[in-house]
Amino acid sequence: MKTTARALLGASVMLALTGAAFAETTITVATVNNGDMVRMQGLMDDFYAKNPDIKVEWVTLEENILRQNVTADIATGGGQYDVVTIGTYEAPIWAKQGWLEGLNDLPADYDIDDLLPAIRGGLSVDGTLYASPFYGESSFVNYRMDLAEKAGITIPDAPTWDDIKAAAAAMTDAEAGIYGICLRGKAGWGENMAFLTSMANSYGARWFDENWVPQFDSPEWKAVLTDYVEMLTKYGPPGASNNGYNENLTLSLQGKCAMRMDATVSAGGLTDPAQSEFADKVGFALAPDMGLGKRANWLWAWSLAIPASSDAKDASKAFINWATNKDYLALVASKEGWRNAPPGTRTSLYANPEYAALPFAKMTIDSINAADPTNPTVKPVPYVGVQFAAIPEFAGLATSVGEIFSAALAGQKSVDDALAEAQALSVAEMTSAGYIK
């Protein structure tokens, strides 16, 4: 009897220990719906093979809904999400609020020093990395080389705004449905204002001076908005004020944009024969400048971060290490080719000869390296961020200003009126937020 009891006790202890060893931790990952994230969800077998004790639940949401839900959860310490997808705008703001877990203690094979310095800088506060980049992007010019040749022009690898204006004029053939230049016109802080803020940086304009006073009444901003409206009115597609990233990408895939300035991340699709019949005719150039030392390119990285309220931080770190490791890039390449590897995060990717041979690789890394979020403008500014100012008020303010500028593009108001309205609105907002005393 005693022997049986002991055997049963022993078996129970063994069972309990085995159970403990295989205790499954479930983490909830909140993410956006884009091609790279969808691809990652298809490669989860590799993660489960390496981490059999972690289960991942995905919550995929549209970007703005994700931002709203994650903000509400983190601000209230809800702990619903263990890993969240955030951008370079949120990372420094949330880290300063103490909402994010530091990631400097990821395992050695994560190789933190391999991250591109500009991207790492944008996701760090006081030397601590708070979000691990999943893919990074800048912006550059893509154009149809056949149309440039037909028009008898050459677009330099590092063009000026005058080069871009001349090329747009030369390649426009509205009757044939070819538009010289496609730029973002749809209102939004991540749409037209991402482009216009980057353009402003190259023109020597800035959102705020060192005392947070808005600068839309400066001659630099007038030059920016005048040239932008003129270029799109003369050489852009009809209804340009409604076109965002998606619309302009579609026009480019169909060959209707002779030239477009937008995210480097779209290069893979533009050079993919399955998506565009003009894939072998696409050329790339750096975003233009005015000779003032700053180019009109932005910097963005979708990144994975752990809210401080997560109760599964170790499992979350294991997931982030897998999803943003060098090995993950190799995994994607082995399944779908190097063209589909998430770009713009690691130095080693661009040192890889196979990746470097892709037509957009060099221009992408050069564009990312040309962006400096800590020193984004010609004149000094009190904020961090290239196409945004990393303060909580920026998203709302820039969206309102974006609506004003989009109306100017649509011809509903003059450039002068739009700038005056933007200035008044920004001064009121910054005053009520306490930046202007």
Partner: protein, 276 residues
Amino acid sequence: MARTVTPRRKLYFTLAAWTVALLIFFPVFWTILTSFKTEVSAVASPPQLFTADWTLENYAEVWSRSDYPRFFWNSVVISVGSTLLGLLIAIPAAWSMAFVPGNRTKDLLMWMLSTKMMPAAAVLIPMYLIFQKTGLFDTRIGLVLALMLMNLPVIVWMLYTYFKEIPGEILEAARMDGASLRNEIIYVLTPMAIPGIASTMLLNIILAWNEAFWTITLTTVDAAPLSAFIASFSAPQGLFYAKLSAASTMAIAPILILGWFSQKQLVRGLTFGAVK
């Protein structure tokens, strides 16, 4: 004196009705068509109504990428549950307002309706905190309660309007025959108001099924209904319109079918008492 309707007049009315119906249905029709297109033809410029390369690929991918049955079941539980719970509370409330009104009944009704005028986002943080602290976050019972509360004013108002059409003398007669209050409501009032109750129920199931703000905000994984399913295929950047359309079609199909089969009931209930 009866008004004569000439054939010409009838033709105009028919044409106008068809035009309005087609205008309302067109976005749904467009979504369904887009769900069978490739991603490239879905965003063709200028837009094309029809395409040469129809495909079922979007449905296959949407099905494989997400747990549709779980989202569907959550939608069923949340919409039906919140409606039934709402009716349970609203029928006695509407009875009292219609048949034994007090001095403040009208004010009370207006106050109830005024809660619908408040934008949902205004109470986002309190609701979020309450749901988190009470453990209702990401639970079906939590959403049943939230949507019931949200739709209760509409349910009470609709039932109140229907009950007002029922002669109070009939209920009085039942009372004189010795019917208790419970029996009066269950055996006398409810059978007479069945068309109104049915249409209220159907309309509220539709409202709850389509609700997207709270159902997305107050859920993550376990209780997420079809509104969250659609949102998971929405992307401001990237060419996923065809898959989004397939997800939308899969989400609206059940409620469209329900609406189609119950339209006679719905129309009868909605026009109940409108023409005397």
